[in-house]
Amino acid sequence: MLLLSLLLHGALLGADLVAAQTVAVQAARVAAVDDDAAVREAAAEAAGGRPLQVTLEPDATRRAPGDMVTATVRLRSRAFAPFGATVWCPGRAAMRVEDT
């Protein structure tokens, strides 16, 4: 039963890894046209309220149209939480900054 539970949590972790990548794409998409505050708001909404860390490179003050902005996110997974483990799922996406 314990092994079966571990397997189910592994599947949950896989789903969260895909979700983290989706959140990163969403964050990069917003970062291409808006400032960092809007990015964090959009990423938090995409993450469904789960704990999230977002890093943007470069930040809004140094972004210029034509540059590539990279969003790196870490989404806290619900997997393995009953076992006392905290797992952060990484995601990364890049987008060209638009001329708004």
Binding site: Q21, V25, M68
Partner: protein, 166 residues
């Protein structure tokens, strides 16, 4: 007395008896009996381990495939938008491919095809992402995704560009 005329052994023979020295006798002797008790547990344990190992492999492969698909979609989106931004209608250089290649590479993807049929109004790209797991690569191969970006010309371009009042 038994039917052979001697001893105290009684039918059935497999019942317990005592020897002259008081030792317990069994027929057939215990050491010669082949017991299957516990065998099913071993087989169940082995089947469970195999089942779990298969489950781990399947879950890992599906996760890898899912992440690769998500990365490919994001990369195709970024590459198509970057290429479209090079459209002269959007104030770009007119060469979409370098921008699309750069955007795909920034997302760890490879640009494999472009469609410029509707250029400079429309630009489509296909990108490829390599999954991390060799098993997924062997079964599904690289994951490809296609995205299209387009610009919609303003009904009044001069007004949109601020060349004359609306």
């Amino acid at each position: 007395m038994n039917r052979d005329g001697g001893g105290e052994l009684r039918w059935p023979m497999h019942r317990r008896a005592r020897s002259d020295r008081g030792d317990e006798l069994r027929w057939p002797p215990r050491r010669l009996v082949h017991s299957d008790r516990g065998g099913i547990a071993v087989w169940l344990a082995m089947a469970l381990c195999l089942w779990l190992a298969g489950g781990v492999i399947v879950v890992t492969a599906l996760t890898d495939l899912g992440v690769a698909v998500a990365r490919a979609r994001g990369a195709a989106d970024a590459a198509a938008l970057a290429g479209m931004a090079a459209s002269p209608l959007a104030g770009g250089s007119g060469a979409p491919r370098p921008a699309a290649v750069e955007a795909a590479a920034a997302n760890a993807a490879t640009l494999v095809a472009t469609e410029e049929d509707g250029w400079p109004l429309r630009y489509a790209v296909t990108v490829s992402v390599q999954p991390l797991s060799p098993l997924v690569v062997a079964i599904a191969g690289p994951v490809q995704a296609k995205a299209t970006a387009a610009v919609r010309p303003a009904t009044d371009p001069e007004a949109a560009l601020g060349l004359r009042p609306r």
